[in-house]
């Protein structure tokens, strides 16, 4: 029983990380109806920026804050320069552009920061009061950060005028323009938020799996699975889905299929969810009239 509990909690810990990346994915999907295949690499790149700031002598939280702001700006610039000109292009061209971004970020990170595995500090000290035998302090911290981010985002989108404008721009760009909302600026804001969330997720992952350019590829797949399970247009669903995927991956990996097939578990999960309930647990089922 203790073993099961341990695996369950470890699953929740990794689930927290998947939940954060899934949140970034949902952010972009909600703003632009595109799935950002480059999200993992952008988060990894931001984490490298944080690492170099820390190496240069900045304190952790200073580097954290600067990285979040830089990632926000970088993502907004990418939306403006690369994604906006393609908004009328067919889906496949947009997917190829995302893939191009993925490849560019991956390679730039390797070029600028090297391919060696680097340790990344955790802001949660190992002997903190909230750590214990079942979960390390960092794991608890990562979950709390994920939950904190989704609450902030929920409050922002639901209760502030800017959040309302963002949701409006995503749902109906033409009507929003008629009401006076600057849709372009809303798109940049959405991307910027996703970039910032991704950066935080990357900085939560890096202490666990160590920092190298390949850090996020596996995480991205689980994050996709989480976002789909929870509903790709619902931030709370994304976080819930991330936790579910983390727990399922760990439990199935330990008791059913063995750790080597964990990625296949994610594959099967994605396919099953897409076939059985494509809108996810909390997403809206879209019905179109023909």
């Amino acid at each position: 029983m203790n073993e099961f509990l341990h695996q369950l909690l470890a699953g929740l810990a990794t689930g927290g990380i998947y939940a954060s990346v899934a949140l970034a994915l949902v952010m972009i999907y909600q703003a632009t109806h595109h799935i950002n295949f480059a999200q993992g690499e952008m988060a990894m790149f931001s984490t490298f920026i944080a690492w170099s700031l820390i190496q240069a002598g900045f304190p952790y939280w200073g580097a954290f804050a600067i990285t979040v702001v830089l990632s926000f700006v970088l993502a907004a610039v990418i939306e403006f320069a690369v994604i906006r000109p393609m908004h009328n292009a067919p889906v496949l061209s947009v997917v190829v552009v995302f893939i191009g971004l993925l490849v560019i970020f991956h390679s730039l990170a390797g070029f600028l920061f090297g391919y060696t595995i680097k340790p990344f500090p955790s802001p949660f000290p190992a002997d903190a009061w909230y750590g214990g035998s079942l979960m390390s302090a960092h794991e608890v911290g990562a979950i709390v950060v994920a939950l904190g981010m989704v609450s902030l985002l929920f409050v922002f989108l639901r209760f502030t005028p800017l959040g309302l404008a963002m949701r409006a721009a995503a749902q109906n760009a033409a009507s929003s323009r008629l009401v006076g909302i600057n849709v372009g600026r809303m798109l940049m804001l959405g991307w910027g938020l996703a970039g910032a969330i991704g950066a935080v997720a990357g900085m939560m992952v890096a202490p666990v799996v160590f920092l190298d350019p390949n850090m996020m590829t596996g995480v991205l797949l689980y994050a996709f699975a989480g976002a789909l399970i929870g509903g790709i247009d619902n931030p709370i669903g994304a976080v819930l889905g991330g936790f579910i995927v983390g727990v399922l991956e760990n439990l199935l990996g330990t008791y059913v299929v063995g750790t080597e097939l964990k990625l296949s578990v994610a594959l099967v999960l994605i396919i099953v969810v897409l076939i059985v309930k494509p809108s996810g647990l909390l997403g809206k089922t879209i019905v179109t009239r023909v």
Partner: protein, 338 residues
């Protein structure tokens, strides 16, 4: 009466002529003969590169069939490339099949697997299918390394193959014979593909791509055509993979990562979606542009590759073939204008 008919024909605008390939056959035959003659001129490594271009061309034809002609986005065709390669390797290593049987056998195996994957994928549209196939591509290397399948797949170490010798004692080196064999297979696959795509089935596939609802209303059996296209596309890519396994003489799980699937998609889009020649141009792109990018920047070749990719998407959304066609059309218009 003739006056009325003449007046009518003068008023109705002439329908744009659909480019037929009937007039191009002699040029294609000439090209194939030229390539065959090149075996005497090129050196071993260049022949190997040529063989790989042909393998990729077949694989890209498969992916183009699915994505360009049928509108189903697949980010996971690297998985079928891997399946074809492994099927051929296992057939040759454990089944003792000769290489010229292993390649078709790999194609058939991939046809079945592709159909089985395509059937549940019927419910997935656009981005969701892209996501599911993305997951397939990421999960494939891990599946290939799975220890319970190690007896067949050779685990992390993979399987080593031998290049075949030229038959009937022909005075050709192994590389030359393999290039000619790959050329023959490519010609056969392209002829099959061309006939399929210009037939009624091809029109049904394109109808589904353009407007699935209307196609169904006109009597096209959507589930059947979509899953069959998936299967056939997987078969083509599997044949390409099988050939590449023989050319490289080696299959291992880490040769078939996500980047292979990405390269295949890139090749199809850069070459030109929905065209046969796009597969050839795309194959040339994926074979030679990475080394070209490396010559520009030794440290970050993939970054240059990504920039080239995005630039091509901005400048030629129809791919190389689209650019050629629009240039030809502009030239024709200029010639026709008084």
């Amino acid at each position: 009466m003739p006056n009325v008919a003449h007046a009518l024909s003068a008023r109705t605008p002439k329908a744009p002529s659909i480019p037929t390939s009937r007039g191009r056959w002699p040029w294609v035959v000439l090209l194939v003969l030229l390539l065959a003659a090149l075996t005497g001129v090129l050196k071993g490594y260049q022949l190997f590169q040529g063989t790989m271009v042909l393998c990729y061309a077949i694989a890209l034809l498969g992916l183009n069939m699915l994505t360009g002609y049928n509108g189903q986005i697949s980010l996971g065709h690297g998985a079928f490339f891997a399946l074809g390669a492994y099927a051929a390797a296992i057939a040759m290593e454990h089944g003792g099949l000769p290489y010229w049987l292993a390649v078709p056998a790999a194609g058939v195996a991939c046809l079945v697997v592709g159909y089985l994957f395509g059937r549940p994928a019927l419910k997935l549209e656009g981005l969701y299918l892209a996501l599911a196939t993305f997951a397939l591509a990421v999960a494939m290397p891990q599946l290939l390394k799975y220890k319970h399948l190690e007896a067949w797949t050779g685990g992390v170490g993979g399987i080593v193959l031998m290049k075949p010798d030229a038959p009937f004692g022909l005075p050709l080196s192994q590389d030359q014979w393999l290039f000619l064999y790959a050329l023959a297979v490519t010609v056969v696959m392209f002829v099959i593909g061309h006939n399929l795509l210009s037939s009624g089935s091809g029109r049904a596939m394109r109808a589904i791509r353009d407007h699935a609802m209307a196609a169904e209303a006109m009597g096209v059996d959507n589930p059947h055509y979509k899953s069959m296209t998936f299967g056939i596309s997987a078969a083509f890519t599997g044949v390409g993979g099988a050939l590449s396994a023989i050319a490289v003489q080696f299959v291992s799980p880490d040769s078939f990562t996500l980047f292979l699937s990405i390269s295949l998609l890139v090749g199809v889009v850069v070459g030109g979606l929905g065209t046969l020649w796009g597969a050839v141009f795309g194959a040339l792109f994926i074979m030679f542009v990475p080394s070209f990018a490396e010559s520009i920047s030794k440290a970050a070749p993939w970054a240059v590759y990504g920039v080239v990719l995005i630039a091509i998407m901005f400048a030629m959304p129809g791919g190389v073939v689209g650019l050629l066609r629009s240039t030809a059309a502009r030239w024709q218009r200029r010639r026709a204008a008084p």
